[in-house]
Symmetry: C2
């Protein structure tokens, strides 16, 4: 049993400063939806295509020299893998990633291209947590979870710090309501810490809306035994973390679930209106807005969290609708 420190607002600001030293902020765009100007934070435009390098950078830069020498181990369906690989490469740290054998090809290739070692597992029969923990133990390496970690949460929150400054600069005012995709809740919790006065709505795919149900129940509930298939590979998290849940619960965050069709509509809208490639899991917050499940309001900030699509699947989405 490890006792983890709580993620803090000061930690988020520290992470934002560390990120600002190495990368420009991802662009913020605005578009009118039902006559209201909405801000869109575009994390697909990160070098590795998703917000995940934020937490990875904050975590890996906090490792001791000795820990850096022994390397890091992570498990991920793809974006956290690439975030860790990106940060590890830049810091000269060896990274091993435990990835499902059916992860999108683009995410596997992206991770390999960043120099990480990949260990594949069968999503149906094996536990990635166990495999990763054993690897880390055998090598003395540091296990870097994808959301159940205060540094990771704080790092992801840097997106909120950036967006607030960009909204102010663009004359859109302070963020009043943030709509954010949710898998394990790291991004949502980090942004909630960053933006202490904003309402928070987390969005999940239908059947994977355990954070929504947990927030309503005020208790962590896992996804059901047979969750439906979803194109949102990045959001297939079976249970959220006390760290992310506590932050969101204390902030009275609300959860919304969107259908696969609503997500596809959002991907098409992002391609046509923003000229951005957004992956299914990265488009769910936009989907909630376009589907009318979240009402547009002044000061609304919608997070587009990633753009690492499977090209063939993305082509089918664009051909539809």
């Amino acid at each position: 049993m490890t006792f983890l420190r709580q993620p803090t607002r000061a930690g988020v600001r520290d992470a934002a400063a560390k990120l600002a030293a190495i990368l420009p902020p991802t662009p913020l765009f605005s578009r009118e939806i039902n006559g209201v100007e909405i801000a869109f934070k575009s994390e697909p435009l990160q070098p590795m295509g998703a917000f995940k390098l934020r937490g990875a950078w904050h975590r890996l830069t906090a490792l001791s020299d000795e820990a850096r020498r022994k390397g890091v181990v992570a498990f991920s369906s793809g974006n956290h893998a690439q975030g860790i690989a990106w940060a590890a490469k830049r810091l000269g740290i060896a990274a091993t990633i435990v990835m499902p054998a059916d992860a999108p090809r683009a995410k596997v290739e992206g991770t390999l291209a960043l120099g990480a070692e990949i260990v594949a597992y069968d999503r149906a029969t094996e536990s990635r947590e166990t495999i990763a923990a054993r690897l880390a133990e055998a090598r003395g390496a540091t296990l870097v979870p994808s959301f159940d970690d205060p540094w990771i949460i704080e790092g992801q929150g840097s997106a909120g710090v950036e967006a607030a400054a960009q909204m102010e600069a663009a004359g859109l005012g302070a963020p009043a309501h943030v709509v954010v995709p949710c898998g394990g809740g790291g991004l949502a919790a980090g942004i909630a810490l960053a933006l202490k006065d904003a309402a928070i709505t987390v969005v999940e795919p239908e059947g994977w809306d355990d954070m929504r149900r947990s927030l309503e129940a005020s208790w962590i509930l896992p996804v059901g035994d047979s969750p439906p298939p979803t194109a949102c590979d990045a959001l297939q998290t079976k249970q959220v973390s006390p760290l992310t849940f506590d932050v969101l619960s204390r902030r009275d965050a609300r959860g919304v679930a969107v259908s696969e069709a609503e997500t596809a509509t959002a991907q098409r809208w992002a391609a046509e209106q923003l000229r951005l490639v957004v992956e299914p899991g990265g488009a769910v917050a936009l989907a909630a807005l376009l589907a009318g499940k979240v009402a547009p309001e002044p000061g609304m900030l919608v997070i587009l969290s990633g753009g690492n699509v499977d090209r063939a699947a993305y082509a089918r989405v664009l051909a539809g609708g």
Copy 2:
């Protein structure tokens, strides 16, 4: 016969200052190609999805109050139309656009959404120049050409001013070689004026490479009588202008032609590596680089000029390769 003033470097800098006052620079990204860091200027991320609002803004803001009251007329397959409509809407000027009946649906809808009036014509049998000139004469409106105009050329050049500052800030040095899509040559000529020390390569679709042939002949040559079909609707210009040709010729610009397959490969690469939706005509400079027709070199700047795709056609491109 009208005598046009020549576009100037001072005019480009003036245009850049006017643009900077109303819009943030479009992001500049860098990626390694064959071990060389290449800069990509991302004009698909403009509000209307292409660089064309630059020239439109510079031109329309230079109109007298009386000219503004009488409105503007333009002819365009789509991006210039949307650029003019965008600038006109912002300035409260009435805009009429002569567009081919077979223009991509997205470009027609984008233009209408920006409040412009559209007059359709048959690309095969009618002359858009004649229709537009008659409309302008009847209304006393100002005809705004898409490239044969010093303000338009200067305005487009603001992309080069921005990119140079961004490359410097990113540690990529001054632009040494710019690779740029070419229809009528407005963007290429403007950037050549902006970046007086850079080599310039203009890229056109095969069979529409009249600028390439003109530069080699040192004399303006039109496209052939039966140019092949091309997905690059934005680059189907039958003859370049003395204004654009002279600038590029004096700078010893080189021309390169790319195939439809090379362009499609570039669109797929942009989607996967940059998460950007780039239209065929916007991807030809990248295509020349990826096809090895332009060798990567330090200080290289590749312009991605627009992202207003026909969604069905774009889906087919992404499904291929």
